[in-house]
Symmetry: D2
């Protein structure tokens, strides 16, 4: 019934030997930052200095956003029900879907698909806006519920600029901001998800990994919330939902 | 590296053949209720008529409890984040821990451990209350946040009585209600979890399966909530947490 | 920040009161089978006698399929890592996706979308096969890895027939079997997922609930495997993967 | 029903403002490494230079261990069933329990509880070995299935030594290695989990966070496996279990 041996190109293991993408784990422990190691394990190669700085900033940027994101609610609810730390992290990660943390993936997909359509970035940006309007879609990674201007976006692009790192996707992302403002008549600034999408796309990561960067970044934040819930709150406190009322069928007999 | 073949005593599978605990699945589909099949797959043997009625009532009893249980919050939060039905059910099941749905297991453990200590059930019940007081523990499966008298308890015991089904654990559970009232000076009625614990213990189920009965029973309820959230509500609505404030360190510089 | 009260039409809760879709839980415990209650909570109304028999058979049919399904591997792996029962069930449910247990949903979607296209069922079936061929798709719910003829399909349709229960979707499903055989030149019998898809579609359930019926049905099976792993096997035994080899980059220096 | 406002000391959020433990997220993006940020969010304060190097090495050390760990099996099984990236990460994290990845927590608990018992570390180490023998327990964090000497342990302690970082827990951990060898008559070297347990204990982290460090570290590894499964393998391939046989009841009639 088995399909025979299968293969993996991630880590080579033997007694006394652990090599990630060919590099010895003890060398990595001494010489690379964790952010560089994340880049290595996902990409297969070492980052440049610019990519190392950007990957670090990407992972820091989304580490936490206070108590309101639904993934925090997922994690705290699992702890509150009397469960283990790993179940709580899993419960939070399960919430990170298309409408929470999904914008990196969706935005990177659009950037990567349209960036191949030519060299006139400004024109491509206008074409994307037309396509969005025709399909009645909003551009993921732009605008934010809470922040008028997402402070993390500027810093991420600033770090990129300082290192002279600006590929086609960052360029297209910024052109989109202009095109959206012009065509929609109102500012819709790039948020952290959009900026991360542009940066990882220029680094050559597949858009399908988009949610992955958000998850890596956010897990320590979820852990901090799990621990705070465990140590500061009593079990089964009222975490939600908000007051609700029943509006189904009235009383009846079987 | 493999440990060689391993064994399972649950279901026998071969081309054209599916036999659960020895019985053909097509015979079961025709002749057994789903509750009887649950009993069979977990116990290995067919239930009596009394056990079939009780297992059915046990599974019905906990199918849903409105929108307030934390597992519902878990399930709805996962849907609200833009995820699939199975992730949402998993997210709800993850919440079912020691403080939510754990009372069946905890109560059954106590009933099963003490029921072996002799034939004087009333005395054993008093000994349990003493042991609880010494260890500053509350008896799981008694009392309820919302219901003064849990309506499901009476029905479950009524069905047992009608079938002449009353083993040592149901007896001990009811003696405990008396002993608690006498020693604590206030009524602490058996809730549905305590009643289920007594019934499954008399059926001969290991207390370590306790949470399992609650999970089986509740999954359709979680599914109903997942579907209602998916079809009646907009994504990422405010499900919780309640208003919160930050009380950590003030602004400081790196 | 809250969005105000929200509403649920599933279960009405108040002190001493639990009413599912308007019916008292204690009445349901006495008068309905668990399968009927599952129908009620998902549909909002009581099933007919035919629907009750079919819902029961649907839930029994997929309760377990031996040790090979990937969801069993998910559940056993979680137990083997030293975790709780609810985490193990969640781990198994997480595996139930588009390629494992997803055929009910996919098949019901096709049946429900094409059943509205007219009254000539045989012609619609041929049109579906053409559409599948044009789009290089396989028809979900037909054929089986292990069973030449899935024994559960015949029993399910037999129960439907005995009750005179045969709507447009069962009819279309069976016409598809004929059309596939004729156009592909080989038999591709309806499997249990395809039969369940037809039956729940005739009952009026939304295809988006498809995976839900599979999950409800399978949870007791996963629980049986979790308990067997917990009680018969040692922790961290070799459950998988099969032998593998590393084929990534050779040794190199940071 | 709500319990009133609740509090969090992790991150302060307001329009245009994100401050983790009091520090601005944009400052952190510019000035701190991700490993330092993980330290900050969990501890509430900035790490020293030694602690930053150690936290980095701790996170790098456990990032992946090839295809054999059960959490990798969990993650790959979820992808193989046709599910999303976040469900796959959650499926892997669910496997990280008491027998897989639990040694950090268990080892740190022992180190933290015994380190308070006096200043004679060598004596305490012998007392721990006696206590283990009396209770027929193995010392978690020592010995390894595959590695005779875990290469990561030496590097971690080497980094600590270079920074002059050696508190009571590292000392006790190393004394334990000596005591175990002497009393058991065979070498049982500290593995990476034991070394991490000592290091995080000296940093002042609660042992209950132990699994958390392993989870943070391993999530990128799980993501790499999820992506490899998604892009290199076909859905529903045979990932496990190994060949099995049915040993339950023979054929019988309902």
């Amino acid at each position: 019934m088995p399909d025979g041996n299968w293969k993996t190109a991630i880590t080579d293991i033997a007694p006394g030997k652990i090599r990630v993408r060919g590099y010895s784990i003890t060398d990595i422990m001494e010489k690379l930052s964790y952010a560089e190691t994340v880049y290595l394990i996902l990409k297969g190669e070492l980052p440049t200095k610019a990519e190392a700085a950007l990957m670090n900033a990407v992972l820091v940027a989304s580490i936490d956003h206070g108590a309101s994101p639904p993934s925090v609610l997922g994690t705290r609810t699992v702890i509150s029900g009397g469960n283990s730390l790993n179940a709580a992290i899993a419960g939070g990660v399960l919430v990170i879907g298309d409408t929470h943390g999904g914008a990196i993936e969706q935005s990177a997909k659009i950037l990567q698909e349209w960036a191949t359509k030519g060299d006139d970035t400004a024109q491509i940006a206008f074409d994307i806006v037309d396509w969005l309007k025709e399909n009645k879609k909003r551009m993921p990674g732009f605008g934010h519920r809470l922040h008028n201007v997402d402070p993390r976006t500027g810093t991420l692009f600033e770090i990129a600029k300082r290192h002279g790192y600006r590929g086609k996707h960052i360029e297209l992302c910024q052109a989109l901001e202009t095109a959206l403002a012009e065509k929609l008549g109102r500012k819709l600034p790039i948020n952290v998800d959009g900026a991360v999408a542009a940066v990882i796309s220029d680094m050559g990561f597949d858009w399908r990994l988009g949610k992955g960067f958000f998850i890596i970044s956010r897990v320590p934040g979820l852990l901090a919330h799990a621990y705070e819930e465990m140590t500061r709150e009593r079990p089964m406190r009222k975490l939600g939902p908000l007051p609700f009322e029943y509006d189904g069928p009235g009383e009846r007999e079987v």
